[in-house]
């Protein structure tokens, strides 16, 4: 099993975060190298009244092209995609995004679980998921689902999180393969192929 995992290439990295996760991204994104061979999808809980400055803010921290997703955008390697405020973000078999304005999940829209589960269905064991700081249970169910399909899951080291509840919850529920601090996360991601 472990052997299998090592051989599997990463075709998508999904990152979920809530309260306190923006700071982590601000530190993590500048450390990511140019020309990553997989796309990154970022799901952040945020207030929906905030305009889409967040994508620009994240873009300013990385050499990787970064944008907020529009409906039916293709998922292209080497890009960072941010889930738009107030929509769930799903991935289709033909590797395009679909948006969904259905009921909130875990009091959240976008919900991390929704995207994690949808991505795991399409990418299976070629999926890597990372859960960051937050005060909510969102993400744990999705990580369990990803693990079941052979994907790899990472939690931010709770001691390093402003809000340790979210990564800790995933760890306690046995949904996590690796527990990493920011430094280790960047090394891990840069070494993914």
């Amino acid at each position: 099993m472990e052997e299998d995992r090592l051989e599997t290439s990463c075709q998508l990295l999904v990152i979920g975060g809530s309260a306190g996760s923006l700071d982590v991204l601000f530190k993590l994104l500048p450390r990511l190298k140019a020309g990553l061979t997989f796309p990154i999808v970022v799901i952040l809980h945020r207030r929906n009244s905030v305009e889409s400055f967040l994508a620009e803010l994240l873009a300013s921290k990385t050499v990787l092209p970064t944008r907020e997703v529009d409906d039916k955008d293709p998922v292209v390697p080497g890009n960072i995609y941010l889930a738009p405020a107030d929509y769930h973000l799903l991935i289709e078999k033909n590797r395009t995004f679909s948006l969904d304005y259905s009921e909130k999940v875990n009091f959240s829209r976008p919900s991390i679980d929704v995207t994690f589960e949808s991505a795991s269905e399409i990418y299976g064991k070629a999926l890597v998921a990372l859960i960051l700081s937050g005060a909510n249970e969102d993400g744990t169910q999705g990580m369990l689902c990803i693990q079941k399909r052979g994907g790899r899951t990472i939690a931010q080291k709770p001691e390093s999180a402003q809000m340790p509840f979210m990564p800790q919850n995933a760890i306690s529920r046995g949904a996590v393969n690796y527990i990493l601090d920011i430094e280790q996360m960047s090394t891990f991601i840069n070494e993914l192929t």
Partner: protein, 269 residues
């Protein structure tokens, strides 16, 4: 876990038995809705769900209602409504008659928001708002014009951000936790079932509002529906989509020009 083949079987049943065609819906979202419903209604297996859909007309109604998304609100994206107020309604002022189509209107919150805008622009008297959806039951809600009172605080805030200057509560009567909107607004709303997948154009409109409906369709169906809208718009008519939807890369993109940063397009050809 429900696999693709099972979903296909169910979708075939729905089409063969009832004429509902969900095959061109965004599969990821549709599948999620079906899985959700299967667990919500505690079916022991997917076959059981399929059996109920096939044999129980009451359940079919619930099924269609639940797998389509009926989440909506009044004055969602206030800047969009502000643009309608400032950029579109003044132009409509010169027309003898205004026809607006809310396609996929769900429970009608956006229709009532529009009626309020028209009333404030003094245009409601010469307007007709066509509210259509494939679900007959959500249309009952539009017909009643009754919405949960608990939502009104948020709607009022959005209304104010959209440039509204009245006390929002003047538009409804509160009773038993419900807000019943004025008859004056609902009088101008014409309600009908219409399925964007299978039904054709039925009138010519000055404005078509279809926000956060196309996201549930695949690219081909989006194109078909956009052609239907194109055929249903008068010259210089307007089309309004959701904030993350676009005409870009669609079959009709050259016939429309985007007005401003809001998702409003003007028909130019």
């Amino acid at each position: 876990m429900i696999d693709e083949e099972e979903i296909d079987l169910l979708l075939n049943d729905l089409f063969d038995l009832y004429g509902y065609d969900f095959t061109s819906y965004s599969r990821a979202s549709l599948k999620r809705r079906i899985v959700r419903l299967c667990s919500l209604d505690k079916f022991p297996s997917f076959a059981e769900l399929r059996y109920h859909v096939k044999t129980d007309p009451t359940y079919l109604k619930r099924f269609v209602e639940e797998i389509t998304v009926n989440v909506t609100e009044m004055f969602r994206d206030p800047s969009f409504y502000k643009s309608l107020r400032d950029d579109i309604l003044p132009i409509f002022g010169t027309k003898p008659f205004i026809r607006i189509w809310h396609a996929g209107c769900s429970t009608g919150e956006e229709v009532f928001s529009m009626a309020i805008l028209l009333k404030e622009a003094n245009l409601l008297k010469k307007s007709l708002l066509y509210a259509t959806d494939l679900n007959p039951s959500v249309l009952d809600n539009v017909r009643r014009g009754i919405f949960p009172l608990t939502q009104m605080k948020q709607y009022s805030e959005s209304y104010i951000s959209s440039g509204g200057i009245n006390d929002f509560s003047t538009y409804y009567t509160a009773n038993y936790g419900q807000a019943k909107f004025d008859r004056e607004l609902s009088e101008k709303i014409i309600i009908s079932t219409h399925n964007l997948v299978s039904d054709s154009s039925f009138n010519e409109f000055d404005l078509i509002v279809c926000r956060n409906v196309l996201i549930y369709f695949d690219k081909d169906l989006q194109d078909r529906v956009l052609k239907l809208f194109d055929a249903s718009l008068g010259t210089l008519g307007y089309l309004a989509l959701g904030t993350k939807e676009t005409l870009k890369f669609s079959a009709v993109q050259n016939k429309f020009k985007q007005l401003n940063k809001e998702k409003i397009w003007k028909k130019i050809a």
